[in-house]
Homo-oligomer: 323 residues x 2
Amino acid sequence: MIKVALDAMGGDHAPKAIVEGAILAARESQGKYGIVLTGPEDVVKSTLSSLGYSGYAEAGMEIFHAPDIVTMDDTPTSVLKTKQNSGLMACVGLQKAGKVQASISAGNSGAMMAACLMVLGRVGSMPRPAIACDVPSFGRNVTLLDCGANVDEKAPTLVHFGICGSIYAETMLGIANPKVGLLNMGEEEKKGTEVLQEAHQLLKQAPINFVGNVEGRDIMLGEVDVIVTGGYTGNVVLKLMEGFYEYHLKTFGKIDSVQGRQFHQDWDYANRGGAMLLGLKGTGIITHGRANAKVIKNGLDLAYRLASNQVSEKIAAKLSQVA
Amino acid sequence: MIKVALDAMGGDHAPKAIVEGAILAARESQGKYGIVLTGPEDVVKSTLSSLGYSGYAEAGMEIFHAPDIVTMDDTPTSVLKTKQNSGLMACVGLQKAGKVQASISAGNSGAMMAACLMVLGRVGSMPRPAIACDVPSFGRNVTLLDCGANVDEKAPTLVHFGICGSIYAETMLGIANPKVGLLNMGEEEKKGTEVLQEAHQLLKQAPINFVGNVEGRDIMLGEVDVIVTGGYTGNVVLKLMEGFYEYHLKTFGKIDSVQGRQFHQDWDYANRGGAMLLGLKGTGIITHGRANAKVIKNGLDLAYRLASNQVSEKIAAKLSQVA
C-alpha cells in the first residue's frame, strides 16, 4: 500500500491544522493509502487526542517520532545539517528509505525543496526540480511551471520543464497530448529574451505537443494545458494570481451565485493540494504555509495520486531520452 | 500652447475611433492643448465630417497630411525606412521638428517604439525607453515598468527604470517620495536572478525611495507606488492583469454596486490613457490597439499632462546624475 509522510509541524497552523487534515484524508480515503505523521510523538499524539481521534492506527495512520523543530528563519543548509530529526527532514528521509512513497510539508519551503533535492535527488538537466502548480484559467486549468525553484535557467532546462508538465497533465489530468506553450511577450518565434528564443527552437524538437509562444493573457483565457516559464516569472505569476483572488474577496466577498461558487471553487487555493516538485527521484509536495485542514487533505490526496500514477518514474524515463 | 500629435490611422478601429477620441478631447479640454491629427488628409477630413465635426480648426485641431499606411505586419525597420509619410512616423517627426510636444499612436506598437527611439532618441542607460503603465492595486494605483520594451536588462537599466517611475509618480501622481519596489521572488536581498540581486544593491544607492523587494502579491495588495521589473516579466504581468479583468467580465459581467462600479473604473483599460515611454527625449504614448474613442481621449490628456509637467526633461536631468 502506498504511504504518504506528512510533516506534522510545518505551516502557520501546525500541528493542529496539519493533523486535522490528516484525519480528514484518512476518513475520506478509507484506507486507500497510509499516512505517516512526522514530528514529536507527544505533540502529535496529544493533538490527535484533542481532536477526538485516538484510534489513528486503525485508520492507517502512523506516527514517526522526529523531535527537532524547523522554524521559518532556519536556512535550508542549517536544516539539512542540524535538524535531521525534524518532521520536515523525516518525511523526506522515510521516502528515501522506502518506507513511504511521497512526502509533503507546509513548513519552510526552502528547506523542504533542499531536503527533497539533496536526500531524494533529481533527474534531468534541471538544477532543481520545477515547482508545478495548477492555476485557474477560464473554463479549464493550466499547469504552470517553474513557479520559483530555479533562477537564471538555460534553454534546455525550460525544455525539461515542458516535458515534466506534459507528463503530469497527461498522467494526472487525463489530457491526451497536452498542449504546451512557452510564456513569452509575443507570438513570434523571435520574441523575448535570448534564452526564450533558444528554448522556442528546442521545444519544437522536443517529444511533446509544443504549440508555440503564449502571452500573459493566455494564462487566463488561452487554450493550452501547460505553460512553461522560468522560476522568477512563474513565481510572480503565481503570487499575482493569489493576490487577484484576495483582491476580489476584499472587494466583493464570496459571491453566492452559480458563477460565484464556481469562481471560488476554481480560485481558492484551499481546493488545490499544493505545489508539486517535478523532476525529483520521488514525490514531493510543498503546500501553502497558511494551509488549513482542507489544504492538507487535498495535498495528501495529490501526493497519493502522484505516487500511485508513478509520475516521477515516467518523467525520469522521458528525460533520460532527451539531452 | 502645447500640441499633441495623434496618429489618426493607428489601431483596430482607426480612423473612426481615433478621430472620435480627438473630438472628445478637444471638446472637454476646451482649447487647453492643441491636437494634430496625422494621416491621409482626405480620409481624416471625411471621418471628421461623417462624425458631424467640420469646424475642427476652431477647436484647436489641425490635420497633417501623411498618406502612407502602416499595417500591423510591417516591421519597425520597414516603417522607418519606407513609410516616413505615415500617420505614425509623422506624429513623431512633428515632435522632433518642435511643432508638437507629444506623440501618440494606437497602431503598430513595435514601429511606434522604434520611431520614438530612433527619431526622438533616448536618455540614460536603457537600451530602449521603458514602457510604464499604471495598473490597479487594492485602494491605489501602481506604476509598473518595464512592460515590454526591453529584454535581458542589466542591473543598471533596472535602476534607471526605478528613477523614471519615481519621477513619474512624483510629478504626475503627486506622490511625495514615491515608494519604489523591485519585483522579486522573495523579500530577502539574496533572492532572485543574479541581475535582480545586483540591481537590489544598486537601487539601495540610487537617489530614490527604494523600499526593497516586493512579490507578485504586492502588485495587488502592496504598499509601494512604483514596481520595477524587466520587460519580459512586466509584459507578462500586464497582459495577465488584462486577462484577469476579461475573465472576471466573462464570469460576472459588469457588477452594478458601489464596489462593482469602482472595480470596473479601476480595471477597465479604457479608463487609462495607454503605455508611457519613459526615458525618451520627448513624450511618446503607445495606446491599446483595441482603443475606442474614450481610450484615445484619455491618451491625449495623458500626453498633454506628461508634456506640460516636463516629465521627460526631469527624467533626463536625474538620469544624467547617475551612472
